[in-house]
C-alpha cells in the first residue's frame, strides 16, 4: 500500500516571520514609531544622548526585568522584585553609613536577594504553592524589612558609591553611566543562558508544558528554584544600581516597580503563560517604557501619570496580540 507522506508543510516564503517572533517584532516596530514621533516633534530628541539617557534612567529596571523574564518564561511570576530592590538599597545605605567596607557591603547586598529568591522558589516547588501568593508574601516581608532598617531615607556619601554614580563613560560626544554597562552585561549573560545552556532550555520547556518536562526527565524543581533565585539576584543587582542612581536608600522607593517590570516583560513579547519570549524582547519592552517617559518629559505639559495611562493601553494591546497569535497557531 502507499502511504501519503506525513509532515506536509507549506513552504514558507522567506519574508514570512515565524509566529514566535511576531510579538517581539511588533514591539520593535512600536519602538521605532514612537522614536520617530519624538524625533519629528522635538528637535532635541534626535540627539543620541536621549537614547543613552533612557538606558541610564532605566538601567536598574532593565536588570530586574531580565530576572523577571526567566520567571515568567517558566509560567511563574515574582511580585517581590520591587521590595527586594528597595531592601538591597536600604541595606547598602545603612551598612555604608555604619562605615562597613564597601566591598563587603556589595557582597552582602548581592546575597540578600538571591537568598530570599531561593527560599521563595523552595516554598513554591516543595509545597506546590502558587508563585503569586508566595512572592506576595516575599514582597511584604522585604518591604517590611526596609522600614525596620530605617523609617527614613539614608543618604550615601561613601566614596566608591559616589564615584560609581558620577562616573561618565564617554562614547564619542556622549556618555553613559557605569550602571548601563552593568545592565548590558546582565542582558548578555541572561540571553546566553537562555539560548545556550540546559538551564535556559529547561526554563522554556517548563513554561511550555511542566507535565511533559517532568516526564522528559528534566529537573523541573531545580529549574523553578533557580529562576526565582536568578530573579532575586537580578533584583539585588537592580537595587545596587538604584542606590548608585539615587545615592540613598529609602524605605518607600520602588513601590509598585514589580508592575512596571511585568509590563515591560509582557510588552517585550514574553507570554505570561510561559514558554515563549526573549531577553531581547524585554530590552525592547523597557525601552518602550523609557521612550514614553521621555516623550512626556519633552512635552512638558502632560502629567507624569500619562506614562501609566499609555502603558496600560499598550499592555492591553499586547496581551490581545499574544492572544491573536495564539489563536492563529491553533
Amino acid at each position: 500500500m502507499t502511504t501519503t507522506p506525513l509532515a506536509v508543510r507549506a513552504d514558507r516564503a522567506w519574508w514570512r516571520v515565524p509566529q514566535r517572533h511576531v510579538p517581539v517584532l511588533a514591539t520593535f516596530v512600536l519602538l521605532l514609531v514612537m522614536y520617530g514621533v519624538g524625533v519629528s516633534q522635538y528637535r532635541a530628541f534626535s540627539n543620541i544622548q536621549v537614547v543613552f539617557n533612557i538606558f541610564i534612567d532605566n538601567g536598574f529596571l532593565l536588570v530586574v526585568a531580565v530576572g523577571m523574564t526567566f520567571v515568567i518564561l517558566t509560567g511563574g511570576i515574582d511580585l517581590s522584585v520591587g521590595s527586594v530592590v528597595a531592601m538591597t538599597a536600604m541595606v547598602s545605605a545603612s551598612l555604608l553609613r555604619d562605615g562597613v567596607n564597601p566591598a563587603l557591603v556589595l557582597v552582602v547586598a548581592l546575597l540578600i536577594g538571591p537568598t530570599l529568591g531561593f527560599a521563595m522558589g523552595c516554598v513554591i516547588h516543595f509545597f506546590d504553592i502558587q508563585p503569586f501568593i508566595v512572592t506576595l508574601a516575599g514582597m511584604f516581608f522585604a518591604r517590611g524589612m526596609c522600614t525596620w532598617i530605617s523609617s527614613t531615607s539614608i543618604p550615601i556619601t561613601e566614596g566608591f558609591w559616589t564615584s560609581a554614580a558620577q562616573e561618565r563613560i564617554r562614547i564619542g560626544e556622549n556618555f553613559v553611566s557605569v550602571s548601563v554597562l552593568i545592565a548590558l552585561a546582565v542582558v548578555g549573560v541572561a540571553a546566553f543562558t537562555l539560548a545556550y545552556t540546559r538551564l535556559g532550555r529547561n526554563v522554556y520547556a517548563i513554561g511550555g508544558n511542566p507535565q511533559s518536562a517532568l516526564l522528559m526527565g528534566l529537573p523541573v524543581g531545580r529549574t523553578k528554584i533557580a529562576v526565582y533565585t536568578i530573579s532575586g539576584l537580578c533584583s539585588a543587582v537592580g537595587g545596587i544600581l538604584l542606590s548608585f542612581y539615587t545615592l540613598s536608600g529609602a524605605p518607600l522607593i520602588a513601590v509598585g516597580m514589580e508592575l512596571d517590570v511585568i509590563a515591560a516583560v509582557v510588552i517585550g513579547g514574553t507570554l505570561l503563560t510561559g514558554g515563549s519570549g526573549y531577553v531581547f524582547g524585554t530590552v525592547l519592552g523597557v525601552l518602550v517604557l523609557g521612550v514614553i517617559q521621555t516623550l512626556i518629559t519633552f512635552d512638558g505639559t502632560l502629567s507624569s501619570w500619562w506614562t501609566k495611562i499609555v502603558i496600560g493601553a499598550l499592555l492591553f494591546a499586547f496581551i490581545l496580540l499574544q492572544r491573536l497569535v495564539g489563536i492563529r497557531k491553533k
Partner: protein
C-alpha cells in the same frame, strides 16, 4: 525462540491502591526483537503495570529484572536511563520548542559548555531519518500534526539507547495512513532488536504487528500467548471474560429498518450548511429514531459537522431546519434549547470536569438547562444519578467519586448520562467509543440502538466503520471536509463500499485498517 532470554521479566507483581487491588501477582516478560501486546479492558491493570515498570509507582510485591539484574526504578527518568523508554498516548513533549530540542532536551550536545545547536539539528535530522521522517527540525513541534509529534516522541525515546520501548496507546488519535506509518516504524525498531511493549485497543493493529500477547483482566494475568495461536475471538473472550455473543446479538436486535425511520418529516435538516475553512456546504436530514453514522478519516470534517449542528461553531452558509422551521443556532445554549445534545470527542478537555463528582458531572447539563436560580433538589439528583449509574453500569457505582478517578470508558458513560438526563431529541456522539474497552464499547453501542428505538435521533461519529455499519440507518461519508456520499444502510452496504466512498477520487486504497 525458546532459548533466547527475555530482556525484561516481571514476576508476581502486586499493587494495591486504597480499596482496589490493581495488580495481583502478575507475571510479564519481554523478549528482544519482539512486539508484545498488552491487552485488557480499561481497569484491567495495563496502565498500572506500565507505571510500576517505569517506577511511577512502587510495587507491593514482586520483582522486576532487566537483563538479569533486579531493578527498581524511582521514576521514568531513571527507567529511561536504564534503557526503558515510554511513549504515552498524549504526546508528552513541549510544543513550544523545536522538533530538534524535543528530541534532545536534557542531553543536548554541547561544546565548551554551550549548546551546539547546529550539531543538535543535524543529529535530530538523522534520528528522524532513521524513522523515515523528513521534516524541518528547527520548526516548532506545535506546527506539526499529532502523528508527527508522536513519531518525534518515539525518536526521542529510541535515541536514548532504548532496549525496551513502551508504547501506551500511541495510535488512538492517528488516522489510518498515520497508523500504517507508525506500525512500519515499530517493525523497523523491532528488527533492530528493540523489545516493544505495545498497548492498544485496536485488535487489527495487534494482529498486524504483535508477536506475542499478554492478557490481563481485573488486575490478574489471564495468560501469555503467541499471536499466531490466539484467534481474535478467543482474545476478546479472554479480555472481557464472558462469552462474546453480545455483539452478534446486537446485530440482530438492532433491526435496522431504514425505510421505517425515513418516514415522516425530518427532525433536523441541514440545508446547504457550511462554514468556510471547516466544512463545505452540505445537506443532511436526520429523522426521529434514526441513527445517522458519520464515516471518514481523521480530519475529514466529521467533528466540524457536529459542531455546526450544535452551534459550537457558527455556520456562515446555508441554514438549519429544526421541526420544519428554519433556525439559526448561534451557540450551544440555543442548541440545548432545541433538545440537541453533543458528547464531544475530547471528554477530558471539553466534556467532563475531573475534580467534580460523578453526580455533579451528570447533573451539570440539566442544571444549566433549568438555569442556576432553580437548583435541582438533592433528592431528585440522587435518584436520577442512581438510575443512570445503573442503566449505564458506571463503575465504580459511587456517585460521589471524582470523575478523574474513573477509567476512560466509565468517564464516557458519565458524559453520556449527563446528556441523556436532559432527554434530547437529537444526540450527537463524537467518537464515543474511542479509547475504551470492548465491554464498555458494546454497552454504549447497545444503548445507542435502544435510544433510537425509543425515538431519539442520533448522529454517530466514529472512525470504526464496523460500529458505524452496525448501528446506523444511514451512513454519511466525509472526505476532505466535504460530505461526499450518503449511503442507506441496507443489505447491500458493507465496509468495502464505505471505504471506497471514503477513498474515492484522489485518495488511494490506503485503508487496510479502519
Amino acid at each position: 525462540m525458546s532459548q533466547r532470554h527475555p530482556v525484561l521479566t516481571m514476576t508476581a507483581i502486586s499493587k494495591h491502591f486504597p480499596g482496589v487491588r490493581a495488580l495481583d501477582g502478575v507475571d510479564f516478560r519481554l523478549f528482544p526483537g519482539e512486539v508484545h501486546a498488552l491487552m485488557g479492558e480499561n481497569g484491567a491493570g495495563k496502565s498500572t503495570l506500565i507505571k510500576v515498570l517505569t517506577g511511577v509507582y512502587g510495587t507491593d510485591a514482586g520483582t522486576i529484572t532487566l537483563d538479569g539484574t533486579q531493578v527498581s526504578f524511582t521514576g521514568p527518568m531513571q527507567a529511561a536511563a536504564a534503557g526503558v523508554s515510554t511513549v504515552y498516548q498524549e504526546v508528552n513533549l513541549c510544543t513550544n520548542l523545536s522538533v530538534a530540542e524535543n528530541i534532545f532536551i536534557g542531553r543536548e550536545p554541547r561544546r565548551g559548555g554551550a549548546i551546539n545547536w547546529r550539531q543538535m539539528r543535524r543529529q535530530a535530522q538523522e534520528a528522524l531519518a532513521r524513522l523515515d521522517l523528513h521534516i524541518d527540525v528547527s520548526e516548532l513541534l506545535g506546527s506539526y500534526s499529532l502523528a508527527v509529534q508522536q513519531m518525534v516522541a518515539i525518536a526521542r525515546a529510541v535515541d536514548v539507547q532504548a532496549r525496551v520501548l513502551i508504547l501506551d496507546e500511541p495510535t488512538s488519535s492517528l488516522d489510518a495512513d498515520e497508523v500504517a506509518q507508525l506500525l512500519r516504524i515499530m517493525r523497523q525498531l523491532r528488527d533492530q532488536g528493540i523489545a516493544i511493549l505495545f498497548v492498544t485497543h485496536f485488535l487489527d493493529q495487534v494482529y498486524g504487528i504483535a508477536d506475542r500477547i499478554t492478557v490481563l483482566r481485573n488486575g490478574r494475568l489471564v495468560g501469555e500467548y503467541l499471536t499466531a495461536d490466539l484467534p481474535q475471538l478467543a482474545l476478546v473472550e479472554k479480555m472481557i471474560g464472558k462469552e462474546l455473543d453480545a455483539l452478534e446479538q446486537l446485530d440482530s436486535e438492532a433491526g435496522k429498518d431504514p425505510a421505517r425511520v425515513a418516514e415522516g418529516s425530518p427532525l433536523v435538516e441541514a440545508d446547504g450548511l457550511g462554514r468556510s475553512g471547516a466544512v463545505a456546504p452540505f445537506s443532511l436530514t436526520i429523522h426521529a429514531g434514526e441513527v445517522v453514522g458519520m464515516a471518514g478519516l481523521l480530519g475529514s470534517g466529521r467533528t466540524e459537522v457536529a459542531r455546526l449542528f450544535f452551534g459550537a461553531d457558527r455556520a456562515d452558509k446555508g441554514q438549519l431546519v429544526v421541526d420544519g422551521k428554519p433556525t439559526t443556532i448561534r451557540n450551544p445554549i440555543a442548541a440545548i434549547d432545541r433538545d440537541i445534545a453533543f458528547c464531544s470527542e475530547n471528554r477530558r478537555t471539553e466534556g467532563l470536569i475531573g475534580e467534580l463528582s460523578v453526580r455533579e458531572n451528570i447533573i451539570l447539563a440539566m442544571q444549566a438547562a433549568r438555569g442556576w436560580l432553580r437548583p435541582v433538589p438533592r433528592r431528585k439528583q440522587d435518584e436520577l444519578v442512581q438510575r443512570w449509574i445503573e442503566a449505564l453500569s458506571i463503575r465504580p457505582a459511587d456517585p460521589e467519586r471524582p470523575v478523574r478517578n474513573l477509567s476512560g470508558g466509565n468517564q464516557q458513560k458519565v458524559l453520556l448520562a449527563r446528556w441523556l438526563i436532559t432527554e434530547p431529541r437529537l444526540l450527537i456522539l463524537d467518537e464515543p467509543t474511542r479509547g475504551i474497552d470492548i465491554g464498555a464499547k458494546t454497552e454504549i453501542q447497545r444503548l445507542v440502538a435502544q435510544l433510537s428505538d425509543g425515538g431519539m435521533a442520533v448522529l454517530f461519529i466514529s472512525a470504526e466503520l464496523e460500529e458505524v455499519l452496525r448501528l446506523s440507518h444511514k451512513v454519511a461519508v466525509m472526505r476532505d471536509r466535504q460530505l461526499v456520499a450518503q449511503l442507506t444502510n441496507d443489505e447491500s452496504l458493507d465496509a468495502d463500499r464505505v471505504m471506497r466512498a471514503i477513498a474515492s477520487g484522489a485518495r488511494q486504497e490506503g485503508l487496510e485498517k479502519a
